[in-house]
Amino acid sequence: MNKNSLYNIFIENDSVFAFVKAFLAVLSAFILVYFILLVTGYRPLPVYSALFQGAFGSRRGFGETLLSTTPLLFSGLGFALAYRCGLFNIGLEGQITMGGIAAAFFGFIIPEINPFIHVLICISAGALAGGMWGFIPGYLKAKFGVHEVISVIMLNHIAFKFAAYLVSMQGPMKDKIDDMPASPVISESAKIVRIVSRTRLHWGIFLGIVIAVLVWFLLFRLRLGFKIRAVGKNPYAAEAAGISIKKHIIITLSLSGALGGLAGAVEILGVHYRLFAAFSPGYGFDAIAVALLGMVNPIGIIASSFLFGILRSGSVFMQAMYGVNKDMVSVITAIIVFFMGMSIPIGILIKDRIKRKNHGLDV
């Protein structure tokens, strides 16, 4: 091959191309934040090293990393699914909240039963509740043309207030025994079992990977997924081919919401064991970055959710060691989102240029 062979690998293999883009986005974010740390008076290298030490340095730390990966994986998949249909579901945080509420409710209302059945009921209820919270914006968009970005933000706030109400002093789900603004603790049989001793890690992560494969299968092997992607790529062409835009908007947002609901349910059943008002620390918003960094591909999202899991769990140690606010991670997240937003059009441009050069079309 000629000297262009590296280029050829680059442009002919989409996943290599995607990986390089994602890698560059993460690298740029770390470099930029390096300077932010420097300007705000911290020593960047020890801070970074603490970040990774926190995420990998101990058995417990690594457990926490995988623990934060789990909800990010579910909600990242939810965001990606909607994105493939041309929809921008920034309402995952609200859908997570609704899923958590439903799971907690069935978790404590049902006494000890067969654990498998109990967890199944709770997880299904969570998915259903999240799905309902996704169905509403889908229906509003299909029927009334309400832009989903605005309706889901309203639904987010409604969900947060609803959860706060449920566990408030007069709330119907408030635990009567202690003073905490929380629901009663769920039954033993509703708890998702921990898998590694001396960590909080539970088997939710495996469920996440299974679901990721299922979403991949749905998107790229099933007729429904093909239609969803067709609507996302070119709604008018899809409509002309007999695919109903409205129907698929409703289906996709419901499924996307259900994935958010799953995230909330697994979080409640596997980590908190009871409902708090703001139990999700923004997983639904991180989902945007997770999905974009994973190139809105379920398999890529397994990897990107792990990266964000590292950032989440490592930041706690980083804050404890050097006093850098753990929100530094959200700045890294924002920069990654920026660069992913940038790299997609730039990537198309570069690819186009290389292709034209290779075919002798460019001078």
Partner: protein, 311 residues
């Protein structure tokens, strides 16, 4: 009867105006940006950054400089969004989302750097005091509602017709709208599409930043985490409800402001509805208002959200 009297007192209308102000400013920002063809869901983040920098400015240099700094910071964020969506041609929603994520995190990092031992909440800072309008405040009903307000409230009420005039009666406004409807045609006529969009989106950020400054150093006297609480998004909804026109948006914002003022006074009057549920009233109302648009023509600018590739 007594309860009704309490709920619909004139103070409710006065606070309606105060609560609506930041939302009106965000909605005006939305009008500017979207009329030029750039979707701006980053208003929320621009507002939040405006609120934060206004507090910093007020702490060090006094309240009015704080307002100015808030406005400029918003403009800077707008410039960033313009760069991403006009020059880089990134997905506008992705770019704005990045701004929103950053605006939540950045203040939390900077607060302990600026004020040691403060986390998530700034110390209280000088505020811009309310003023009495000499003649208007003595008019019976209207005086109670608009006679005694914050200067920024008055400024906002003036800005509504000003922005409306700018967009619909001036050459610049015509160009901005042309670029938002049909950039190719505008380009052939010699209008600089990129420049128009840069101007419009930067101004949009400034308006949002001003809204944030109002929130942190007029409405309150400090910055707290995520204090905008969706107001940027509600402003966006109000703009759509008002069909991309400043005057229409104003009415929608007042409706929202009333919902919020009403729930607050209902709580104070002891209406037996849990406060947490009452707090969700404005959001529910916004949703219903958006649905209520059904059947009427709510047409966004034709080139809204589409990057323009100069051919």
């Amino acid at each position: 009867m007594d309860l009704m009297f309490k709920l619909f007192s004139l103070t409710v209308f006065a606070s309606t105006l105060r609560i609506a102000t930041p939302v009106i400013l965000a909605a005006l920002g939305g009008c500017m940006s979207e009329r030029s063809g750039v979707i701006n869901i980053g208003l929320e983040g621009m507002m939040l950054m405006g609120a934060f920098s206004a507090v910093v400015g007020s702490y060090f240099f006094g309240a009015w400089i704080g307002v100015l700094i808030g406005l400029l910071t918003g403009g800077l964020m707008g410039l960033l969004h313009a760069f991403m969506s006009v020059t880089i041609k990134a997905n506008q929603i992705i770019s704005a989302t990045a701004i929103n994520i950053m605006a939540v995190g950045l203040p939390n990092i900077l607060i302990p750097v600026i004020w040691p031992n403060h986390f998530g909440i700034s110390p209280t800072v000088p505020v811009i005091a309310d003023i009495h309008l000499p003649f208007i405040s003595s008019i019976p009903v209207i005086g109670k509602v608009i006679g005694h307000q914050n200067p920024i409230v008055y400024l906002t009420l003036i800005l509504v017709p000003v922005i409306s005039y700018l967009l619909f009666k001036t050459k610049l406004g015509l160009r901005i709208r042309a670029v938002g409807e049909h950039p190719q045609a505008a380009d052939t006529l010699g209008i600089n599409v990129y420049k128009m969009r840069y101007i419009a989106v930067t101004m949009s950020g400034m308006l949002a930043g001003l809204g944030g400054a109002f929130l942190s150093i007029c409405y309150q006297a400090q910055f707290s985490m995520a204090m905008t609480a969706g107001r940027g998004f509600i402003g966006l909804a109000a703009m759509i409800f008002g069909r991309w026109s400043p005057k229409g948006a104003l009415l929608a914002c007042l409706l929202f402001g009333f919902a919020d003022a009403f729930q607050a006074s209902a709580q104070a009057a002891g209406v037996p509805i849990p406060p947490e549920l009452m707090l969700s009233f404005p959001y529910v109302l916004t949703l219903i208002a958006l649905v209520g648009l059904f059947g009427k023509t709510a047409v966004s600018p034709a080139a809204n959200g589409k990057p323009y590739f100069k051919g």
